[in-house]
Symmetry: C2
Subunit: 124 residues, 2 copies
């Protein structure tokens, strides 16, 4: 929770919220994705995604384009400005990960991830 608060506070300087970061990340890795696919991937109701997408589009970070073969859907793409913003956000995330693990050795970091993965397996 402390890490989360830390990262969220940093991203607030770009006026970006965690959900927006995750949407930008998914679109960046999967250009042309339909809203329904993002909705399923991130477990966000498609009704709630509409406003988020509108906000990201209004800020010039993403755009909706027609999808060939299905006139109901629209593909989502990052704009050049969107790519620049995502790049800055990734740098922030990386910097905060370095901060969070600065008291750990490389071996301890690996060990931490290994133990957390087992906890996750146990609760999944």
């Amino acid at each position: 929770m402390a890490i989360f608060q830390h990262i969220i506070r940093a991203m607030e300087t770009l006026d970006v919220r965690p959900g927006q970061f995750s949407v930008l990340t998914v679109i960046g890795a999967n250009p042309g994705l339909k809203q329904i696919a993002i909705s399923e991937a991130l477990d966000i109701r498609r009704a709630n995604l509409v406003g988020m997408i509108n906000g990201l589009e209004r800020r010039g970070w993403i755009e909706r384009r027609a999808v060939r073969g299905d006139r109901r859907a629209q593909g989502l793409y990052l704009t050049p400005r969107g790519r620049a913003t995502l790049s800055r956000l990734r740098s922030m995330a990386a910097r905060h990960e370095r901060t969070a693990t600065r008291l750990l050795t490389a071996a301890e970091k690996r060990q931490l991830l290994r133990l957390l993965a087992r906890v996750h397996d146990a609760t999944a």
Copy 2:
């Protein structure tokens, strides 16, 4: 996050939310506490605490009593039913902690807590 979801889902069977659990825990450990103290301890606005306290009182889990020496404040106490509920919630939390760590040895559990404490120190 997986652990949190896990515990929250279990506590929903008693219709208890994470915030309510934390308030019951703090009152249980500090009988007679004033709302302002809980507000500061749990970082909950005193305005938002009012409704939570009302809800817990309505369900017969806590009660407000006069504080000698300060007629503005009211001390909060668990009722017998509140103590019983808190006890059940603690059992749930303990059971889920056992589930979460069931793939770890005792030494690995200690190591995990040690590493997480360092990450927390680094971000605090």
